[in-house]
Every structure is written in structure tokens, then in C-alpha cells.
Amino acid sequence: MQDAELNQTFYEGQTIHHPKSWLTKYVFSQDHKTVAIQYFSLSLLTGVVGVILSMVMRLQLGFPGLFDISPDTYYQSITMHGMIMVIYLLTAILLGGFGNFLIPLMLGARDMAFPFVNMMSVHFYALSVILLFASYLVPGGPTGAGWTLYPPQVLLPGTPGYDWGIVMMILSIAVFIIAFTMGGLNYVTTVLQSRARGMTLMRMPLVIWCIFLATVIGLLAFPALLVAGIMLLLDRLIGSSFFMPDIFQFGQHVTNVFGTEYEGGSPLLFQHLFWFFGHPEVYIVALPMFGIVSELISCHARKNIFGYKMMVWALIAITAVSFIVWAHHMFVAGMNPVLGFFFATTTLIIAIPTAIKVYNWVLTLWKADIHMTVPMYYAVGFIFTFIIGGLGGLFLGNVSVDVELSDTYFVVGHFHVVMGISPILALCGGVHHWFPLITGRTMNNFLGKIHFWGTFAGAYLIYIPMHYLGLGGVLRRYYDFKGLAYVSDSLHDMNVFITLASIVVGLIQFLFLFNIVWSYFKGKKVEKNPWKATTLEWQTTTMPPGHGNWPNKLPTVHRWPYDYSVPGASEDYIPQNVPLEAETEGGSSHE
């Protein structure tokens, strides 16, 4: 106890130096809010490239041959699109962006526990993005082995970028993992050790719980990717055979860089390591968006989140189980078939806590006072798409159903609903909700609604048909579908339709970026706490909060984060830092 108090008082007593120069204020800033904005902008810019790459793919699939897209370009686009979206956009923006911005503010801390490490984190992230795009400059271009980077093809001719592209990719990922670890240590330490007085763990807003647990997952899952990457790199550079068996390709035995033959490695080992990271990665992305949506729904429906404790325990259950489901990505990969029973069972078990979360969001709407603000549109839209995505997971987790659906467009449709559209809705909702806190202005509602409906309709028009194509056995990662007897002509029409829809939806995303930029300069100025929210980040003395967040004393927390519509209270919300006595009748804060 003494140590912890020492921390707090030591820090509180310090006079904070506010940076003055442009460089220290915007580039080498250690303020968690600036770091968050750096993460936001960089990852959104990276995401723009990802969206453009997806259009390249869709143009080839919709109009094969018309745009002169070679198989090289097609497969490189697939790979880069997947990597960018999953790691460099979603992981970075949800943890680096929202995590950095919200954790200290919502917990009532002055900053992250280690601001310098935090700054280093975003710089390493920038470096990893530069390395990623630099792979377009090396001979052979970026790797085209799919985002899963499966050996042995990733290191063999016949796959684009097998010589230098893959090296750049692994280096970039390694740097990203370092960046993530630096950020992640900060988030976990801050959440565990530097909350405001009275902010017990069970009084933390759900979004903090979610980001915290997602970071824990990341810290334990990224090592597997790092190790797999190192071993793959060694196979490529010093001739080891971790993942490379004896291979006979194009009429010759394949040799490593030293001219001796590869021998005895296990390609399956890479798949296990990759998915031991890859599946928890889904939850690294999913949990923060659960959290954001929980906040949005509770605040804009003016009602406390249904079953807060149950939500927290469901999150913890998801975190724990997420580490023992990875091989459901490998039901047809050639592992020992008996494992299928185990992983199918664990996978469907994880559906239960996930379902609880959906029920509780829906039940929060029951007898609520729903304000259909733009953030609420996004949140409700998210629930719809997430229901679709979650139910799609029941197909793919159930082993014998997966056998006929794996590697088809059902899988593509499923993970784009879960990992594509749902995070876009959640994070755009989050940006709309917290934009006033960042800039002091609101985003344009009209543009917001257009973007919402465009994206939401896109989810249905693009990805629902994909699920059915998958039922029809249409395979993913195909360059075109010419000359296949079992696919009907209407497939080609459907592909054209999906392509057109996805280009429209892709372009609509630029509307969101435009909205951010426009609102930053021209948005309507608003007063403090425009949404009348209870959580601490809105209770700072100035909006946007200054460096150090709370100018004088750190706030003291007296109640849980969801005191909306408390009976007898004068307003329909009571902020977390209002003492219980101040609201006599409704003061019975839930614990």
C-alpha cells in the first residue's frame, strides 16, 4: 500500500512541464492523448491503403481480365490487405488509439504509467508501417502468400515475393510486436496500478475492461507470432529447416540459401504457432469493439448496461477460452483428426459468453430511453452485424460443417462481417462519440448518417451473398472462376454486383475521413459533456482536457460508471465522481 500511495502522491505533487515546441508537442509528445491521435491518424492512413487494395481484388473478381491485374498483383493485394487490416489498422487503432486515449482519462489518471515508453511505442509502430510499405520497393515486391504466410510456399518460387518480400514482412511484424509490447505493458500497468481513488476494478467502465483484457491477450499471443516469424526468417536466411520438409518442386529438389536441401521440417508447426496467435488476435480486435459499443449503448439509451458483472465475467471467460480454440482454423489442415473433437467443443463453448454479451446489449435497450444519435446508429448497427458474424461462427466452429465450408467464400463473408464491418461500425461510433472530447467540436451528423447507412447496407449486400456462395462451394483465394462446371452463371453476375457494392462502400469510407477533417475545423463547437455521460473522461475541467488531464487534484470515484436514469435524481445521469450523499434518494449506487 505504501508504495502505491507513494506513486500517486509523488506524481501528484510534481509540477508538470508542458511542452512548448512544435516537435515536442506533436511528434515527440509523451502525452497519452497526443500518442493516441498519432495512432489514430497513422492507422487510418494505413487503412486507406488497405481499402484501395481490396478494390483491386474486387475489380479482378468482378471483371476478370478487364483491368489487367496479374496474379502477382492479385495475391500480393490479398496478403497486404489482410495484414494491414487485421494488424496495422484494427489492432493499432483499437488498442493504440482508443486504448491510449481512454485508459488514463476514464480511470482518472494523469497519464499512462510510462509516458516515454508510450511515445516509443508509436514511433516503433510508424517504423513498422514504413517497413511494411517498403516491401513494395524490394525486388519481387511484397509477399503474396496470403496473410497467413504459410510455409513452405511462402519461401518458394511460384509465390510472389518469396525472396525479399517475406523478409520485409517479418521484420515489419517484429517491429510491430515490439511497439505493441511497449504500449501493452503500459495499458496493463496503468489499469492495474494507477486508478483514481475509489475506482475499483468493478467500477471500471466496460470499455476499459475490454481494452485491458485485449491487451493481456495480445501480450500472451503475439509471442507465438514473433517466434514463428523468427523461425521462418531463419529458414529463409540461414538455411535451417524448421518449417521446410524435403521438397521437390519444378523438377528439382529445393535448396536453401547455402545450396543444401531442406529436410525434416514441419509446415503444420507454423500453422499451429500462427493460429495460436491468430485466433486470440480476433479477440484482440473484438473485445475493444465490445467495450466501445457497451459504452455507446448505455450512454445513448440512458440506461445502465444490463448485467454489468455478468458482462465482466463473460469477458474474462472469453479471454481465457480464446487461447484453447486456435486449431478450429486447421480442421482440414492435416493435424491429428482426433483434436477436432476438442477444438470444436471449445469453440462452441466460447459462443456462450459471447452470446451473453449480445443478450445484455439487447436487454439494455428494453425499457430504455433511446436517443437515436449518430453514435447510437453505429452501436445498434454493430449489434446486427455482430449477431450475423457470431452466428456464422457456429458454422465454422462445428467441425463437420467446417469441413465443407472451410476455404470457401463462407469464411470470407464470415470474417469480414466480424473483423471488417463490425469493427468499422464500432470504431466509427466510438470516434463520433469521443470526437467532442478530442477537439471540442461535434462531427457532422448528416455525413455520419450517410456513412452509417452506406456501410451498414454494404455489410448486408456484400457479405450475406458471400456466405451463400460459400454454401455453393465457391473457393476463396481464386483468381477467377472461369471454366468451373459446378458454379452457375449467376455467380458471375453476383460477383459483379458484389464488386460494385464494395466499391461504393469503399468510397463511402472516405466520407468518414472527410467528416473527421471537416469537423476538426468547421464542426459545431459544444459545451462540456455533450452526451451527458457519467464516465470520468467527460468530467475534466476543460474540454478537450489539457496535458495532465486533471489540473489540480485527481478525481475521486464514488459510484459505478452506469448511473443513468437513477430514480429520484434531478438529472438522468450522475457522473462517477459525484459523492453518494449529494443525490440522497438515488444514491444507492450499485456495487
Partner: protein, 372 residues
């Protein structure tokens, strides 16, 4: 208000899309094997999850209308309800078990192949298929990746007595008898592949360095495409084969026409008259050339071999070139230095001996002559 109606419309649209997709064949391909149970399991999941989706979605839409903000409206302060929560958990658990149990039952059938299965081995390589049967002794000969060579494209151990009568099918077309369980062992020469026949439902990866297995019982006669379902490089899309399911008699007839390992050139005595070890034609099949280059003039991924030798062709940089013996050899050794117009520069380089190169190029040239 309007918003929730739109939300509800989207939900209804999804339901009706089922009819649209059945109409337009975005639906299970026609079943031609014993794995109808898989379709049943999938369909059951579709129905259960469909009901859950519609109920939850419409409930949300109802809430959005019923509890929308009006003047002086206020939300109810309700912390949670353990009883409701408990019921929901119980219901979900029952639903999950209802889906999982049949799924696992089908799976246990899937991984236990019947005793009387016909054993066949399928071999995948970039980007074509070949097959092997155990032959009269019903035992597969030993294989080892070290034995792979242009002359021994199955990697069989030449000294193994069980290997001698193995039937080698150096073609991507496989014939199967109808109504007979087939147990496939899968082996890859180079990278990951996946054996998939949509009408049979099952699929399984081919992993270099290990064997994988799957079984099915084709029960409708006909021709079905074999597809590669695991990304395996630039020509992944075009890695196709054919399964011909036919009557027992026809199958026997086909089988009797296939060669056994002992009769392949590798096992001929060294002093035999035929020093021409493998013909150019055989080489081109074994190397998988014909996966991209047709020999009948039809257009493939690469230019057809028919009528190419000696002709003038246009390169991608606009230059003209005569496809003489030298050019053809160069195109095999360093394929992407002079690529023909309208073809992508994607062919891998083949490391062949001088003799082998000669044989293939001579074969290409004969294609020309026979057609004149």
C-alpha cells in the same frame, strides 16, 4: 422510427435471400457422395441460427420503436436480472449442444474410414494432380521424398518389393467405381494443396512431409472436377483434375490400361535397348507443363504448344521473335526473360539437364509437325 423499420427490412431481406440463392444455385452443389449428413448438419445450423437472428433482430427493432426517446420519457433503472440471464444461458447452452452433438457424430464417421475401402493415393504438386493404387498385392510401396526425380515422379523406392506392382496414374484424371468407399491418402511434393471435389463435400489439405487422409463413397456416376482448396501459389486457381465415377466394369477396364511401376522406364535394365529413358511427352506431363500449356491449340494460362515452334511471335515489349529451338530452350530455363505478349510473366524456371531440355523441345517441335 424510420431507422428501425429499415433495420427490420434488412432482416427480412436476409430471410428472402435464401430463396434467391436456392433459385440461383448459391446453394449446395448437387450431392454425389455419402456425405449428405454434412449438408443436414449445415442446414440445421442455418435454420437454428436463422431463427435466432430473426428473433433477436426484430426484438431490437421493436425496442428501438417502443422505447425511443419522447418528451419526459425516462429509462427504467434496472441493474440486471440474474433469473433472465440464467434462462438465456441455459437456452444458449442447449442450442449449442444441439448443434455440436450431430456435428461431432458426423465427424467421428468422417475420421473412421470403412474397412472395405478402396485405397488410393493422390499426389499434388504445383499445379497438377497424379494418383497411385497399391496394385495386386494391395500394399503401397515405400516412398521417400529423396527418390523424387524427373524419372521417378512418385518418389517410389526402386528396391522395395511392394512398390513394383503399384499402379501409377500420371494424369490428373482419376476413375472411381460407383458405390465403393474410397480411402484417399494425400501426399504433396512441394507446397500445401487441398483435395476438394465440391460434389463430394469433403476436403483435406496435402502437407509436404506427411500423409493426410479422407474418405468418401461416390454414389452418382458422372464427371466431377477436383479443385485445389488451399492457396498454393500463382496458378492455384487452375490446379484442377477430374474424377470419373463409373460402373465397376468400366472402372476395371480403365484400371487394366494403367502402367505399373515395374514397367516404367526407371526400372528397365540399364543395358536395355531403350536408352531414351523418358520421352519428351512423358517429361512434359511429369513436370506439369501441360497444366498451363495445352497441346491442342486451346488457350490456357500459357501459350499453347501446338504450332508454336518456328513461328514468329510478339513479345511483351513489342519485339518479334522466332520461336526456334534456342528460344524454346531459353524459355524453359529462364522463362520470364522473353515473355509472349498477352501472357503474364509467371512461369517458374525449370532446372533440367541438356538432354531433358532437348527432349522437351523436340517434343514441342513434333507437335508442330504432326499437325501439319
Amino acid at each position: 422510427m424510420a431507422a428501425s423499420i429499415v433495420f427490420a427490412l434488412f432482416t427480412i431481406m436476409v430471410v428472402f435471400f435464401n430463396y434467391y440463392s436456392i433459385e440461383n444455385q448459391f446453394w449446395f452443389p448437387e450431392l454425389a457422395s455419402n456425405w449428405g449428413d454434412m449438408d443436414t448438419a449445415t442446414l440445421m445450423t442455418l435454420i437454428i441460427s436463422g431463427v435466432v437472428f430473426v428473433v433477436l433482430s426484430l426484438f431490437i427493432c421493436y425496442c428501438l420503436i417502443r422505447f425511443r426517446h419522447r418528451e419526459n420519457s425516462k429509462a427504467e433503472y434496472q441493474i440486471g436480472n440474474n433469473k433472465v440471464e440464467g434462462w438465456l444461458i441455459a437456452l444458449t447452452t442447449i442450442g449449442v449442444i444441439a448443434l455440436l452433438a450431430p456435428g461431432l457424430m458426423v465427424y467421428s464417421q468422417l475420421i473412421n474410414e470403412p474397412e472395405d475401402s478402396l485405397r488410393i493415393e493422390a499426389i499434388g504438386e504445383q499445379w497438377t494432380w497424379s494418383f497411385r493404387l497399391p496394385g495386386a498385392d494391395n500394399t503401397f510401396g515405400k516412398t521417400n521424398p529423396k527418390h523424387f526425380g524427373i524419372k521417378n515422379s512418385f518418389g517410389l523406392d526402386p528396391d522395395d518389393k511392394y512398390a513394383q506392382d503399384d499402379i501409377l496414374i500420371q494424369s490428373s484424371t482419376l476413375h472411381l467405381p460407383v458405390n465403393q468407399p474410397i480411402a484417399l491418402s494425400l501426399r504433396s511434393k512441394d507446397v500445401l494443396h487441398d483435395f476438394y471435389v465440391p460434389q463430394f463435400r469433403v476436403k483435406m489439405d496435402l502437407v509436404p512431409g506427411q500423409l493426410t487422409n479422407l474418405w468418401f463413397e461416390p454414389n452418382v456416376e458422372g464427371e466431377y472436377e477436383i479443385l485445389c482448396a488451399e492457396y498454393c501459389g500463382l496458378q492455384h486457381t487452375y490446379m484442377r483434375g477430374l474424377v470419373v465415377v463409373e460402373s465397376e466394369e468400366k472402372y476395371k477396364q480403365w484400371l487394366s490400361e494403367q502402367i505399373i511401376f515395374a514397367n516404367t522406364s526407371l526400372n528397365l535394365p540399364p543395358d536395355a535397348d531403350k536408352q531414351e529413358i523418358v520421352s519428351g511427352e512423358m517429361l512434359s506431363i511429369r513436370l506439369g507443363c501441360t497444366a498451363c500449356h495445352s497441346i491442342d491449340g486451346s488457350n490456357g494460362i500459357g501459350p499453347s504448344w501446338k504450332g508454336v515452334a518456328g513461328e514468329e511471335r510478339t513479345l511483351s515489349n513489342g519485339e518479334k521473335v522466332i520461336a526456334d529451338h534456342y528460344y524454346l530452350e531459353e524459355s524453359i530455363v529462364s522463362p520470364n526473360s522473353k515473355v509472349l505478349q498477352d501472357y503474364p510473366p509467371i512461369m517458374p524456371s525449370y532446372g533440367l539437364s541438356h538432354e531433358e531440355l532437348d527432349q522437351i523441345v523436340e517434343y514441342i517441335e513434333t507437335l508442330n509437325e504432326t499437325n501439319e
